[in-house]
Amino acid sequence: MKVLILNGPGLDDLRRMDSSFDKELSLAQIEQECGKLCAKYGIDMTFRQGDVVTELFEWIGRSAAEFDALIINPIGYYSYEAYEKFEEYRSAIKMLAHLKKPVVEVHLTNIFRHGADLIEPLREPDAKIGFICGLGLHSYLLAIESIAQQHNLQGRVA
C-alpha cells in the first residue's frame, strides 16, 4: 500500500498561515507524524511539497501509476493568485478519478472561516474525494486513518 502526500504552494513555511493556526507546527513535524502513523499501518509514504504547480501536476501524474491513494493539501495561503492556480489541479484530479484512486483533500485550517471564499474545495463530480479541514496536524492523520480503514489495514502494536 503506497500513499503520496502532496503539499502545494506556500506550505513549506507554516508561519505564514493565518492566526487560527498553531504556529508551533512545522511541515517537517507533520511529515514525521504522518510517517509514524503510516508505519503503524505498513503504508509506504511519500511526502512532498512544491511551490510550482506544474511540478505538482507531474507528481500527481506519476502518483496515478505508482500510488494507491493521494492525500493533497492544495495550498497554504489564501489569495486570488492561489485561486487561479487551483483550477490547474482539476485535470490531474480527474485522471486519478478515472483510475479509481482515492483522494483525500486536507487543509490545516477551516477554509470556510476565511470569509472571502478564496479557497474552494476541489470539485470533480466523477472523483472519489474525501475532504478534511480545520484539524491542523490531525487533518493529515485522519486522512491516513481513513485510507487504512477503507483498506482494512490493522495497526501494528508498537
Binding site: 475532504f131 480545520g134 485522519l142
Partner: protein, 151 residues
C-alpha cells in the same frame, strides 16, 4: 462537568433512512448500526457519546442549545439542513465547545445546491466524503484529543 468527556452526535433530515436511501451514495449501513458503533467506541475510550437524529430543524437547534453547558464536543451531520439553516448556524455559534461538521458523502462533488454550507463557517473543522466510517474516525479523534484537552 464530570471527568468523563461527553460528545453529542447530531444527525439531521433523512439520516434515519441511512442504509435504504440511495445506498450508492450513502452505503448500506443503517444509522442504528453507526450509533451503536460510535457509543461502543466512545465507551472503549472513556467518552460518553449521545447519538441523536431528527427530521425537524428545531429539534437540532434545541439539542445544540442543551449541549452548551453539558457537552465537550458536538459532531453534526445536519443533512440537507446544512444548506438551508441559518438557525442551526446561529445555535452552533452560541456553542463554545469543540464542533465538527460531518458528512458521509462529499457535498462539494454533488449538486450545486449542496456547495454552500451554513454549518461550515460556524464549526472548527469539516470532515466529509469518508463514508459512514467517518463517524468512527471522528469519535476516535475526539477521544484522543479531548483527553489531552486540545485538538
Amino acid at each position: 462537568m464530570s471527568d468523563t468527556k461527553k460528545v453529542r452526535v447530531l444527525n439531521g433530515a433523512n439520516l434515519n433512512l441511512l442504509g435504504t436511501r440511495e445506498p450508492s451514495i450513502y452505503g448500506s449501513t443503517t444509522l442504528a448500526h453507526v450509533a451503536e458503533r460510535c457509543v461502543a467506541l466512545g465507551a472503549e475510550h472513556g467518552l460518553e457519546v449521545e447519538f441523536l437524529q431528527s427530521n425537524y430543524e428545531g429539534a437540532i437547534v434545541e439539542w445544540i442549545q442543551e449541549a452548551i453547558n453539558s457537552c465537550d464536543a458536538i459532531v453534526i451531520n445536519a443533512g440537507a439542513f446544512t444548506h438551508t439553516s441559518i438557525a442551526i448556524h446561529d445555535a452552533l455559534r452560541a456553542y463554545n465547545g469543540y464542533k465538527i461538521e460531518l458528512h458521509i458523502s462529499n457535498p462539494h462533488l454533488r449538486e450545486k445546491f449542496r456547495h454552500t454550507s451554513y454549518v461550515s463557517p460556524a464549526v472548527n473543522a469539516v470532515v466529509a466524503g469518508l463514508g459512514v466510517g467517518g463517524y468512527e474516525l471522528v469519535i476516535k479523534l475526539l477521544a484522543e484529543t479531548l483527553r489531552r484537552d486540545r485538538v
